[in-house]
């Protein structure tokens, strides 16, 4: 790795700080005798971990942290990810010893507090969505999706209705939808959107027959638009014998305004790390609980907390469960944070969340629509999609990178796939009008720059620790860890 080592002030790797014999932790002295290691199993000769002090570690990772944009430092309007403020109270709640030091296999009588929390969180999500039952087990949205599709599969299988292998998915959907469908052994079939950004009803009707397992629908969809024909859509699918999966990624827009179960959604996942303000952690952990109505609730994954005899909380595997998707009961520490958030907001607060998320998105859309093309002329929900095709030769990626210079994390780019040069912007309810105005000003300035000084965009970002990185090289010759780089140095020598 000599060629890239420490140059230009880059933060060194932790192992580059290593000094033989240095220690970073103090452990208790042995208070029991030594026991010889077995001779029936080969032992480890060398443990190639760094030898660094606690201060080395703290400085290294603190310096690394400062290279990140995050919600605590920057507006982060990453569409479809709901990067709202993550209240600090929830961190305190999750780190209470009475939650964080509890073992998942403690006798039920010794973890009634955790079980009650699971039970009450299930209840709250059921009330918000209208579903009969919720399982909190799935670790993230994609795992919730897989659960839901497996539940639909099991339902048809139980009815010996095994011809049903096609799952319909609008072309605006997240990539996780078709990927989950493939993992459930179904074929993913794309349904186009119409000129208003809704599912094309005539195509849907034509595709629905006795081989349709169901439809996966995101509402509001990834264009940030409410599916206006949701009642017709679910009716068409149900009439053909299929079931409807709701992708709850965008539930932030609907809390207190629509219960998905009431408009024909049979099963849906929630993203607690989006809607319920738990931190995204640089990529997780999230939590993707699944709710289901009458037809599918017995198929829910994992365990559900139930109240036995009105006094004792217990864990129960639903009667026709598809089985577990992970060990134990879900990302509990994430569930604690979401529960704390729900308790603080209350029903009234959660409805206000949806209102202000939608207000902020419409306001921001209004502020920039003179310069940025908005492909669908409708009121949006919690997010909207604009197009970055400002002038020839300038791309959405250039706009995104230039936004970093202005101190904003870019929106989601090039998604959904059906909008050319898409910029998908989700401000969330926790941002003030002042922040939205500043962001709108930045976007409008960038639109000017695109005409007057296009290189400012093409060469952006200018003030970051690194400039635009060579992604092609990274994929062609993957250097994924210290070992792969050692091999490279070895062969060179």
């Amino acid at each position: 790795m000599e060629d890239t080592k420490k140059e230009n002030g880059a933060e060194p790797f932790i192992w580059e700080l290593s000094s033989p014999g240095r220690i970073g932790v103090s452990l208790p002295l042995p208070d029991v005798p030594e026991y010889p290691l077995p001779d029936s199993v080969p032992l480890r000769a060398d443990l190639p971990l760094p030898e660094v002090s606690e201060l080395d570690v703290v400085r290294h990772f603190t310096r690394l942290s400062r290279l990140n944009f995050c919600i605590d430092t920057h507006f982060y309007p990453l569409g479809s990810c709901t990067m709202k403020y993550n209240p600090k109270m929830n961190e305190v709640a999750a780190s209470l010893s009475g939650f964080s030091d509890v073992h998942p296999l403690q006798p039920e009588s010794l973890c009634q507090g955790s079980l009650e929390l699971l039970y009450r969180l299930q209840e709250a999500l059921e009330e918000l969505s209208g579903f009969k039952a919720v399982s909190l087990q799935p670790a993230a949205g994609a795992q919730g999706e897989l659960s839901g599709v497996l539940m639909i599969r099991a339902y048809h299988a139980d009815r010996q209705d095994t011809k049903r292998t096609r799952m319909l998915i609008p072309d605006s959907a997240h990539g996780t939808n078709p990927a989950s469908v493939a993992m459930a052994g179904f074929t993913a079939e794309q349904i186009p959107s119409d000129s208003r950004g809704n599912v094309d009803l005539s195509v849907l009707k034509a595709r629905c027959n006795e081989t349709v397992a169901g439809l996966m629908i995101t509402n509001p969809n990834t264009l940030g638009l409410f599916e206006e024909n949701i009642l017709e859509i679910t009716e068409i699918v149900h009439r053909a014998g299929g079931l409807v999966y709701g992708d709850g990624a965008n539930f932030n827009a609907l809390m207190g305004y629509l219960k998905p179960a009431q408009v024909g959604i049979d099963v849906m996942h929630f993203n607690l790390h989006k809607t319920f303000a738990t931190p995204h952690g640089g990529g997780g952990p999230g939590a993707g609980p699944v709710g289901a109505g009458e037809l599918l609730s017995d198929y829910l994954p994992g365990y559900r907390a139930e109240l036995a005899g009105g006094e004792r909380y217990i864990l129960v595997r639903p009667s026709r469960s598809i089985g577990p998707l992970k060990a134990f009961y879900g990302n509990f520490a994430v569930l604690v944070r979401a529960f704390a958030y729900i308790r603080q907001m209350g029903g009234e607060g959660l409805r206000a969340v949806a209102e202000h998320a939608v207000l902020n998105a419409n306001y921001l859309k209004h502020r920039i629509e003179k310069r940025y093309r908005i492909p669908y002329h409708r009121s949006c929900m919690h997010e909207f999609v604009a197009s970055g095709d400002l002038v020839p030769g300038i791309h959405t990626l250039d706009i995104a990178k230039r936004l970093i210079d202005y101190g904003f994390h870019p929106p989601t780019v090039y998604f959904p796939l059906i909008v050319k040069e898409a910029l998908m912007i989700e401000p969330t309810e926790t941002e003030s009008r002042q922040t939205l105005d500043a962001f709108a000003e930045a976007l409008l300035n960038i639109a000017e720059e695109a005409v007057l000084a296009p290189d400012l965009l093409r060469e952006a970002p200018h003030n970051t620790p690194v400039g635009r990185l060579d992604e092609v090289q990274a994929a062609r010759d993957p250097r994924l860890n210290r070992r792969s780089d050692k091999d490279r140095t070895d062969t060179k020598n």
């Binding site: 220690i23 970073g24 030091d101 998942p104 296999l105 493939a182 207190g256 029903g347």
Partner: protein
């Protein structure tokens, strides 16, 4: 005022005016009227102080190490967590960022992932490690699916050891059912190479072992791995990372896929989640593996930097042809593991493993001196062992519970026939006094 919504009454009015609207409800007119704004039977908003009081009360209804000594393990382990892990993990820059889609604004997260991938690759001695999976169970399930894809989706058999965690096996069955994969393996005990040969044929895509086993046994997998390869299948082992500070890493004996649970690397028990799914492969399998990968590259000026790479494996590019549907992973848990492994380092991790090993040995030795009890493990074990009790283990656990001791996991939870067996787990967190208390209490039954 609702917390976390910064709008003043006046700002709200100005914003609505800008949009030509009178009220917030008008933003939702596309929702069918009949179902719009339903009644919500939820509580009223609570103050921060009230919420915290309520949660403290709830949490006080759980037993914790301050109030009880617990010898529970079985996939979730209490090891020492240095304070610096919590301090680094609490930084908003790590906690409140997301998947590093914009590398120039996410170099901290990306380099931390690269370091995690490196530290784990070194620990396992494997070529490639992904940025994390949900937990050990889901990682194992996706490891089996990888082996199935490598077989050209032709081999539908999976030979699985009885030493794999029962919840991991169940999880793998959930994931694999739609693919029509079938699981086979002895119900009890562990296969010897000869037994394995009889289970292995050209329909098997992989053989799955666990190190240590669910029951704590330390086995030499080298002969099994070789036999598996002779039959054209892949060998997958689900590992415990701390044990590998003492024992030969799986990469050294030619394992194809390594998965495992990394919760023990600097993460609290948290009632079983979040965990950390470790996922590693040989180079040859890299382009078929699931999950995100951070890779080293450079910018236009040649400066070192990191990006997410090999994205064409993933759902956001490849959709139904992706290697998995995984999107959000366990990034923050992986960060904690990287900080933990850095702090522990070469000497610290070995010390933790050694203390754990000898304390478990000490506990078992003392129990062997009790005539009514029998330690069931025939060979060496790490951290856990099975204790056959004179009565039903449930009953013993209940009696010791009243003395403030959780003596272990009654195996009847997973194996209804094994009523008298208790799975006992000991780590460096248990003092000799606590272990002696356990022995005395068991002796007194």
């Amino acid at each position: 005022m609702i917390p976390y919504i910064p709008h003043t009454e006046e700002e709200r009015r100005i914003m609505l005016d800008t949009l030509g609207l009178q009220s917030m409800e008008e933003l939702f007119l596309e929702i069918p009227e009949k179902y719009r704004k339903p009644e919500l039977k939820l509580h009223s908003p609570l103050s921060e102080a009230d919420v915290l009081r309520e949660l403290r009360e709830l949490s006080a209804r759980n037993a914790v190490p301050d109030t009880m000594v617990s010898f529970l393990g079985a996939g979730a382990y209490r090891h020492f967590i240095p304070s610096a892990v919590d301090a680094i993990a609490a930084r908003g820059e790590f906690l409140t960022s997301y998947t590093p889609y914009q590398p120039e604004a996410s170099q901290g997260t990306l380099q931390a992932i690269f370091e995690y991938q490196s530290l784990i690759a070194d620990l396992l001695r494997m070529d490639a490690v992904n940025a994390s999976h949900y937990d050990g169970a889901a990682a194992l399930a996706e490891g089996i699916l990888l082996a199935y894809r490598v077989s050209g989706e032709k081999r539908k058999g999976v030979v699985i050891s009885a030493g794999v965690h029962p919840e991991y096996r169940e999880t793998a069955e959930t994931y694999c059912r739609a693919y029509g994969l079938s699981f086979r393996g002895p119900e009890e005990g562990f296969w010897k190479p000869k037994e394995l040969a009889s289970l292995l044929d050209e329909t098997v895509c992989c053989v799955v072992g666990s190190f240590p086993t669910f029951f704590g046994d330390i086995l030499n997998y080298r002969p099994l791995c070789e036999e598996t390869h002779r039959k054209g299948a892949l060998f997958l082992v689900s590992i415990d990372p701390i044990s590998l500070a003492l024992f030969e890493p799986p990469g050294a004996y030619g394992v194809d896929i390594v998965t495992g649970e990394g919760q023990c690397l600097g993460n609290p028990l948290s009632f079983g989640g979040p965990g950390l799914g470790i996922f590693a492969v040989r180079t040859e399998l890299l382009r078929k593996m699931p999950g995100r990968l951070a890779g080293l590259t450079c910018d236009r000026t040649g400066k070192r930097g990191f990006v997410l790479t090999l994205n064409t494996r993933e759902q956001h590019i490849r959709r139904e042809k992706a290697t998995s549907n995984i999107c959000t992973n366990q990034g923050h848990v992986a960060l904690r593991a990287a900080v933990y492994l850095s702090l522990m380092g070469k000497n610290g991790l070995r010390q933790v493993a050694d203390l754990t090993y000898r304390k478990a040995c000490y506990t078992a030795e003392r129990l062997r001196s009790l005539p009514a009890y029998r330690v069931m493990n025939e060979g060496p074990f790490f951290r856990e062992f099975v204790l056959q009790c004179p009565h039903e283990a449930e009953e013993i656990a209940e009696r010791l519970g009243s003395e403030g001791i959780i003596p272990g996991l009654p195996l009847s939870r997973y194996f209804p026939d094994r009523k008298n067996d208790l799975l006992v787990c000991v780590t460096e967190m248990h003092s000799k006094e606590e272990i002696d208390r356990l022995i005395d209490s068991l002796a007194g039954i």
